[in-house]
Amino acid sequence: MAEVVLENICKTYGNSFRAIRDLNLEIADGEFLILVGPSGCGKSTALRMIAGLEDITSGHLSIGGRDVVDMAPKDRDIAMVFQSYALYPHMTVFENIGFSMRLAGKKKAERKKRVDEIARTLQLTELLDSKPANLSGGQRQRVAMGRAMVREPAAFLMDEPLSNLDAKLRVQMRAEIASLQRQLGVTTIYVTHDQVEAMTMGDRVAVMKGGILQQVDTPKRLYDAPVNAFVAGFIGSPSMNLFEADLSRGTLQTPGFSLQLPETVLAERPALRKYDGGKIVFGARPEDLYDSTLASGRSHQTVPAEVVSVEELGSEHVVHLRLDATPVDSGDPDAVEELGGLSNAVARFEPASAVSADSRIDLAVDCAKLHFFDPGTHLAIR
């Protein structure tokens, strides 16, 4: 087990494309860190640089206190789980898991003991003689985990290991990996583009965009206090609703409605006063927008909204709305336009809500939970 430290890590490809810029991260011994971001943000490149599969253009990388920049992957004391699992198709499960021990010249009896032990932990004992082609996605995933575990590495590196599984199995494996990591206590760096995985599995989450680290924090802090509009929009599903408004004497003014900010909000964010008389970006999480007819007892203001569609999920209704306000792009390249531009906001209503598509409603907004961003830099205003 070991601490992994990245200092000013940069990656520039031959065509001058800068995949990673000045990445600084300290991953504590035994920590489970998630690297998350949209496609092309550099998260997999960062992981591959830690593994030694990509050269580091500049910067320092240490694992367990050893500078590993010029070390071969095998000497870095890491193990990796690939997105495709990269199981050797011509080898059995036993051979796949024990391959690194075989290369290290370990005796067959020793290999068998260790592989059997891991197979028991991962419930693979019955499958040791099978080839990867005869395994299900979940079983292959477990074999890939076993192959990583057998090395007893200082750190596990996982590159989107659940992305090839169906939704149900992914939920199950998510829990299994998180629990296994806690049990083993091995430093783990896990890459995903799925922010649900990021929020549910890791001790901390590092959000990347365009090769630049945006924020690294606990899942709760990322959700509650995003440093910029990108993190605000990327973390959370459905995404945070972002709109442009004029701020004037504590009132947000959009073309179709105004919201009076509570004194507490202004007191908690003294920087907001600098924006008085100018433009500002404000954000509301879908759960902070609700059906005003069910909002009794909650402090809220209402704004007029048109219901475009309602997705009844049983536990909640996801309501797509059209507000008379200008939406702001968070900068997530993977984001899809809301229902082809018909709606510009999403809310999560209680299942008791009776709203229906094509109706006009009074939408309740919890102004105490609004987020604010600079309209130029998109940085959070605090």
Partner: protein, 299 residues
């Protein structure tokens, strides 16, 4: 007579349609391959086959004759040596060149040039190859000149005319002519091996040679086995290259089953014995083909 309903007609149509589609090729194969094969098998059991109209049944006499002929056994041994050496070397050279052409360490430009150069032998017919190597391996040819100049041999060697060297020389010419098939097939196979298998092996601690043994060769094995079996079948039947370089000589030193059979038929006009020898080649080829089909099915 009962009238057939549209349902029955449709069913019958579906049943015979595949045979109708296959029939042109089946007719061609039947007339040009199966019929001559059957005739050759029949000749091998006849006295004075083809040459005289009043033939009689000879039983296995011709087979006993060729199995009792020392030249036949020498031909069989030469065929085996020629084929095994050719296939093994085709595979080794083809794999080495394919690995080189697949390597990132060579610039794409150089790779394109080498790819064209390495594939050149495949463009030549057997006649051209025979002429090229007869000229190159002539006692006054370029190979002798170079070897003498380098001091590797003391005096010029008649590669195709010496009993000691003739079989090795024709085998060498055949190796040169045949490796591109392996090279191209293995290169395609190499390009199909997922890169992450090598990355996983890197992390598992594999060295370059270990990756070749544990990843590359097992991944290429289906191609290696398929192409080797096909090459074995084709090489065993090579005739023009040997006929045009050595003619099976000197003193039967390069006699192989195909030249042995040809000579029986068209030099000695012993068509019945030639047919028996041809049937022997056919049986060996069928054995290899069955092995090949079984391997393909197993895949």
């Amino acid at each position: 007579m009962t009238a057939r309903g549209p349902k029955a007609n449709y069913k019958l149509g579906r049943q015979i349609a595949p045979y109708l589609y296959l029939s042109p090729s089946l007719i061609v194969v039947g007339l040009l391959m199966l019929l001559p094969m059957a005739m050759v098998i029949a000749y091998s059991f006849q006295e004075s086959a083809v040459l005289r109209p009043d033939t009689s049944f000879a039983g296995f006499r011709h087979y006993r004759a060729i199995f009792g002929d020392e030249v036949f056994w020498a031909s069989l041994w030469h065929t085996l040596y020629f084929t095994v050496a050719s296939v093994v070397m085709h595979m080794a050279i083809g794999l080495a060149f394919a690995l080189m052409l697949n390597s990132d360490r060579i610039s794409p430009m150089l790779r394109s040039v080498l790819r064209v150069l390495y594939i050149l032998p495949w463009l030549f017919t057997q006649v051209i190859i025979a002429v090229i190597w007869r000229l190159m391996l002539d006692p006054n040819g370029v190979v002798n000149s170079i070897l003498v100049d380098l001091g590797i041999i003391g005096s010029k060697v008649a590669w195709f005319s010496s009993v000691e060297t003739a079989l090795h020389a024709v085998t060498f010419a055949n190796i040169w002519a045949g490796y591109p098939l392996f090279m191209v097939s293995l290169l395609a196979g190499l390009q199909g091996i997922p890169k992450d298998l090598y990355e996983a092996a890197d992390i598992d601690g594999a060295t370059g040679p270990q990756k070749l043994v544990f990843i590359t060769i097992p991944q290429l094995m289906p191609i290696i086995v398929s192409i080797s079996l096909l090459d074995f079948i084709w090489t065993m039947q090579v005739f023009p290259l040997i006929w045009l370089t050595t003619g099976g000589g000197p003193i039967y030193a390069t006699e192989v089953l195909s030249t042995y059979t040809y000579k029986l038929a068209f030099s000695q006009y012993n068509l019945a014995q030639a047919a028996a020898s041809a049937v022997t080649i056919l049986l060996i080829s069928i054995g290899l083909t069955l092995f090949y089909i079984r391997h393909q099915k197993a895949r």
